[in-house]
Symmetry: C2
Subunit: 363 residues, 2 copies
């Protein structure tokens, strides 16, 4: 998988270079066509249930005083990425910035002054060539842990996610490149909080309920989102997301499911539209007798919940309307740790099994 | 190891309970003696090179209107921890809070209202009984990754840290309980940043230089600090810490080495006084031609560097005085990613090998 992806990405980068050479040979103004990423070109694709980019594009020209430097920088970034692929190595976007920053001979002009100049160019290349940053061998910060009956192949190692003790496998950003060899699981359970991961991992939830357990440690990293999507796409595993009963928890779920505005250009590559929300809901607070373990919602929680009531993908669903309205009306929120109020193993042995049995999910 | 530690911790908790029962039977006012953790009782132990607690203690009485509730809460926490040990399970401090929070019968009085009430009680028990929170089976948030030629035993799994692909082993908070079976390494390299870990891991630095590579992802978690200490103590491995050349990087080093004020009561258990700072230094910026890759220091960086010049453990060392003064005078800082300015593999293949060869460390 790694080799094939890398070959295709190289081909696209080379085609970009060839196109510019062609422009020059035909005495045309060398240019690159790049889809526009402004909010005006972000649309919600109802069929795919995802945020995505519209059709508007713009051209970046070499002979144009306003474009020239950016054009040069874009070529530098593309060339840097090609050399990463040629050498089978990876770099962070900060590494790239430091590597490309230099002063042009006989001048005071730097190729790049700040990382804020080079970062958007990566996204330009992602959208222009329809590839992921990860395929360009640019790494993003890692976060997230996984455990379950899965065997993968990665950098020559065969790794069994069921045999990693209390630790678990730390999810890198290079998830695109691992080979998932064997999966013995019926679903993926994604937990927003490390404390929830520890609880479920210690209670061997993934063993008892034949599942793959992923802890995101807050908003999931790109690597973790990619992993969730791959497990869903390649092994047809349903994905259940388990978050706090507050606006932030619901937002984490919506990012896993539908993507985010800032990453709308890669939604189809790193989000999982069929993901379902297993809990915690405000309704659960009443159904499972957790009233004593709720927290008073802050103004910002209420404000966010009200905003979400207007999101297209929550608007059409009466159950989400009900839950978001409950947040606003009751003025409370509840963390997944609140389940410990009913006993430490209540989460693993009663709450989640009950939700799974009743298929009590929000979509 | 896990069993032995757990047995001793249980013994201490039971002794605490027995002592209270004894007080009652002898008609004495039941009380617990707790070392004082205020700054007035935090001292720098020059011999051990660590922050530690002084000898001042205070007593918490049951029959004392000002102490009574806290006394009850302390007993609840101790009893909760004993039940964790009895059942061989773990819980986060937030889980504990939710679990212990309840309303006393026929009253409006809660056992605990906020987590800010229960958290300090854990520390009280830690210092009163001279045990670690981890030994009480209370987990802290995890962070940190490790790779290297090490085989451990954890929850029945045998885990080889050299065979985990690009991922690495995610360091849990329960490091006290793992058995480190086999170590084939000459030193431990601790890297402040995940990007640095990725670089060195991909370049197989730990293989080529027979070391254990630990990525802390910023300020290290308690689990990661415990792991560093165990590798040093049990296998006599030197520990080298690799951070940004700025006040925050130096602070991370000082926490690994000497502990922090807020955790002074456990310094001797989770810090590594012999740890050395391998880089990055401002001197390195000039020595390795990285001037183009520095960043202008912010006011807060300069302020912190000036404060550190006055820290006892930096004051006595002329090399630290020189480096901290350079930060102030030059008004610059440099990240470890700045080494990419000299090429992506410069860190793994030139800079670190050169520093190691010359034993160019700060103590």
């Amino acid at each position: 998988m790694a080799d094939q992806t890398s070959k295709e990405t190289r081909k696209k980068l080379i085609a970009l270079g060839d196109k510019i050479v062609n422009d020059i040979e035909r005495s045309e103004n060398p240019n690159i066509e790049i889809p526009i990423r402004a909010l005006s070109n972000v649309v919600f694709d109802k069929k795919a249930n995802q945020l995505t980019l519209g059709n508007k594009t713009s051209k970046r020209y070499y002979f144009n005083v306003a474009h020239s430097k950016k054009f040069m920088q874009t070529m530098m970034v593309a060339s840097f990425c090609k050399s990463l692929l040629d050498n089978s190595i990876h770099a962070s976007i900060r590494d790239m910035y430091y590597n490309l920053k230099r002063t042009l001979p006989d001048s005071d002009e730097n190729t790049i002054d700040e990382q804020s100049e080079s970062d958007p160019l990566i996204v330009d290349i992602e959208v222009a060539l329809d590839i992921l940053r990860e395929q360009l061998h640019l790494t993003t910060d890692r976060k997230g842990i996984v455990a379950g009956n899965v065997i993968i192949q990665d950098r020559g190692d065969s790794i069994d996610w069921s045999k990693l003790g209390s630790g678990g496998w730390s999810i890198p950003s290079t998830v695109e490149e691992i080979d998932i060899k064997k999966v013995d699981a019926d679903f993926v359970l994604v937990v927003e909080k490390n404390a929830g991961f520890e609880r479920l991992h210690e209670d061997k939830f993934w063993q008892k309920h034949k599942s793959i357990l992923i802890g995101t440690g807050g908003q999931p990293s790109r690597g973790t989102r990619l992993l969730i999507q791959r497990l869903h796409d390649e092994f047809k595993l349903p994905v259940y997301v388990f978050c706090d009963a507050d606006a932030y928890g619901v937002y984490i779920y919506s990012v896993i499911k539908s993507g985010s505005i800032s990453l709308a250009h890669v939604s189809d590559r790193i989000s999982t539209p069929s993901a379902k929300f297993i809990g915690l809901t405000i309704s659960d607070v009443f159904e499972y007798d957790l009233k004593k373990a709720t927290i008073k919602a802050k103004d910002v929680d209420i404000k966010r919940a009200k905003e979400m009531l207007e999101y297209e993908w929550f608007k059409k669903n009466p159950r989400w309307q009900k839950e978001l309205n409950l947040m606003v009306e009751k003025g409370i929120k509840a963390e997944i740790e609140a389940l410990s109020h009913r006993g430490l193993k209540f989460m693993s042995e009663e709450y989640l099994p009950d939700k799974l049995k009743k298929k009590n999910f929000l979509d």
